[in-house]
Amino acid sequence: MEWVASISTVSQFSVLLADDWKEIPPWSKLEIADQCRSILNKIAKACNTALYIYSIPKSIAIPMTQKTPLYENHLQAGGKMVDFGGWQLPVHYGSLVDEHHCVRNEAGVFDVSHMTIVDIDGTDSSAFLQRLFANDVASLTDVGAALYSCMLNEEGGIIDDLIVYWMGDRGYRVIVNAATREKDLEWIRRQSEKFNVTITERSELALVAVQGPLATERAVACLPEELKAPSRALKRYTACAHDDWFVAATGYTGEAGLEIALPQEQVGEFWNALLEAGVKPCGLGARDTLRLEAGMNLYGSDMDETQSPLSSDLGWTVAWQPVERQFIGRTALQQQRDTGVGQKLCGFVLDGKGVLRGGQVLYKDDAEIGVITSGTFSPTLKKSIAFARVDADCIGDCMVEIRNNRIAVKHVKRVFVRKGQPV
């Protein structure tokens, strides 16, 4: 009964707020929303229930927790839920390490429905994306081809990293990070003003990533008939689609597998079918250790608007040719390229005891030379690995400070594990 009472309190309250919303001056909206959220949180806490606000306008960025369509499925599977950038998501379902190994050896599934899917279509869409992205969508010549790119500001700083798919008649599909949703959409809309394009956020779609050496085989068995053959035949970095189902051979783990977007009403059934087919549910924790081992950057940790692709080991994602293509940030990036970047993102391994973590400082001959951007214990290598941004003229083996002790770390290539094997 308590639960029913609190939900009704919450929705009545937010409906009241929405009715008079237009009368409130914009500068005070955020403050009001914040205060309401705090009151609602107290009510929810007193009633021992989770808080979910329905009616506060989306145009206001309120840090509230949202649930994906798979929320109940996570609870059923024993997911330990955490707040991740405003989303309730499982960090693990019992053992992060078991989930990690399962993706390296068999097949695991991640709920990534919090990520933002944006479809971009219209006669100018190619020209628009050639301006918007540092990588060149002109290289997407086959229907279904995918490309990883950064979206830069005029200073060459990274607004976000993303994957863009060219789906032929369906136009382009872009998948960006969840935490950057508002600023990305605002930037994309602002930049599109002079182009004839339509920009459609597909928040009604759920997104799951099925990853691991057995992932494709097991996931294909659960797909609609029309998609089975084309999905099985997908080459790496290509995609196919049918109705509102979209299947791409991409991922964030360094393993084979598929990323599947589908209508959120159907995702529960699909999730259950995957679990029955022997695919293990995996949480954000394993997603992080897997991507680190695979040498993949995390936006907000390894890069942000103060860093460029060149200082983030993403130079390979910048298409410098043709020279006429004036993508946003090109001038600044060219200048960095000519003068050389001061710092670079590198890989490090700790052979001794301990765990490297973001924020730990690196030293060479007692001088500070860099800082770890992401670090973890690698379940595959059974030792700690990290990315660090280091002064370009000091790259090499050095010392890391952990709890006032300096310990030697080895400079290595930024890919630690490829297809299940240590590199």
Binding site: L96, V97, G285, V355, F377
Partner: protein, 129 residues
């Protein structure tokens, strides 16, 4: 959740066992190991070190995070569980027995009894979540 009734507990989620010889053994609770997740590294305290209550004396690290372990009472470190260097996962699988962290010779015999008992700790966890 497993909270044995013959142990004492701290607000930082250590358990404390009062042994027959007057020494105490310390570890982290089942609740704490569950919150931390798979442990991959344990740094135990130096033997013979004199410690005060609430001193950070050991570190446990899971894949996701590092966490300090505090001395529950004043005393001298008698022994540390060296098996954890090779098998930190013992803390996850058997937090109250094989996963013990260190033992202390208490400075004041009665200090342990000022800590929470099973019931109080249960209530404390409920109030925290």
């Amino acid at each position: 959740m497993n909270i044995p009734n013959d142990l004492f507990y701290t607000e930082s989620h250590e358990w404390v066992r009062l042994n027959d010889d007057g020494t105490v053994t310390v570890g982290i609770t089942d609740h704490a190991q569950e919150q931390l997740g798979d442990l991959v590294f344990v740094e135990t305290p130096e033997i013979d070190a004199t410690v005060s209550a609430k001193d950070a004396v050991a570190v446990v690290e899971s894949v996701k995070a590092a966490s300090d372990i505090y001395a529950p009472i004043h005393g001298v470190i008698l022994d540390a569980n060296t098996a954890l260097a090779e098998e930190p996962e013992l803390v996850n699988s058997d937090p109250y027995q094989a996963g013990w962290l260190f033992s202390i010779q208490p400075e004041h015999a009665t200090e342990v009894e000022e800590l929470m008992d099973q019931e109080a700790y249960e209530g404390f966890i409920a109030s925290e979540s």
